[in-house]
Amino acid sequence: MIPPEFEYHRPETIDQALVLLTQHGEEAKILAGGHSLLPLMKLRFAEPAHLVDLNFIESLRGIKESNGLIEIAAMTTESQLITSPLLLDKCPLIPDAASQIADPQVRSRGTIGGDIVHADPGNDHPAIMLALEASFVILGSNGERIVPASGFFLGAFDTQLEENEILKAIQVPVSVAGSGHAYCKLKRKTGDFATAASAVSLVVEGGVCKKINIALTNVGATALKAEAAESILTGQTLSDLLMEKAVEKAMAICDPAEDLRGDREYKIHMAGEMTRRAIREAFAKATGGG
């Protein structure tokens, strides 16, 4: 379990990092928290000739709010997300989900940007991003572009981010009055990927679900947005009947791979169960019951 040789780069600005990425092309990989990449390198599945370490770029850290948007710099660690007063107040779904990722030590290195860009179907933030309608601020040598989370994830380990681009920040809207969130994740043990998980973000007005986003983790090649399930509930008051209909729709889009966590049938049902629980919990929070 020894990584192969590589050259290590430690840029101090994003521009320096972009130059390095352009210079080394596909031979370069970005090192963020390292808890996905370094194990892959130790297994010798990944052998980048150049590692560009973003850990020392100040501008990639921090969480701030402006114009109704919260902007989370990509290298913000999971533990920073969990303890951010701003997020706890205005976007509690992110700290809630982050606290369910891995373990304390891994969370002190692992970053939100790394989790998103690595796009392992088992990673948690992609579904959270879909549920929050987040956008990604991406920097390349041609400048900045902003890409919505929806459509960003192309497949397992595959996103719209090009090899010479860097995810700079994540933008999420500030949660509005009457909103509720939940992330329900079933896992075998601490440190494991989800067997299945469901992220729900919704807004309730007068008992009616004005808006709901549902996204699923680890039951497909990417995080999945359960749109059909959302439309069942949108504009409705929550009932057991509608809930079951929505859960059925969410299960219908799942296409998980079987592994030691369970077979397809189990995972699909668990995606359904986690969705059911997340909707309930989010509703309860939105209506003051949580």
Binding site: M1, E5, F6, Y8, L31, D103, P104, V106, R109, T190
Partner: protein, 158 residues
Amino acid sequence: MAKKHISFTLNRQNIDVLVEPRELLIHVIREQLQKTGSHIGCETSHCGACTLDLNGQSVKACTVLAVQAEGGEVLTVEGLLQNDKLHPLQEAFMQEHGLQCGFCTPGMLMRAYRFLQENPQPTEAEIRSGMAGNLCRCTGYQNIIKAVQTAAKNMASA
């Protein structure tokens, strides 16, 4: 690959070593610097036996490159003893029988050390989640929890 000079502090001492970029922090600490208290148990960042304190945070040193410690502050179990006085956690682990084979113990102590700074008066549930990144095969954790509680109590009254 060309080796790099890096410097950092290890247990409050200035250190200057020559490392390959790919060298893992745990290997440099254990083999070059001969501080063998931190152990290697799984190599995939699951067991926590290599846990040490880097810049005021608990990290698993099997998944950190030594070059990433450049300019940083590293504290290992060997640095817990100060002025020949054991840390209250060390005392408590002995008192409560919080260790058996001793292999996970340095990582446990280092995580508990940081955890009690993050949360000086934890509940049992908080200890369980706050220590969840460290595996022990011998104790069943119950006595480690007691040890952390005892240390928290002793530190509060000290």
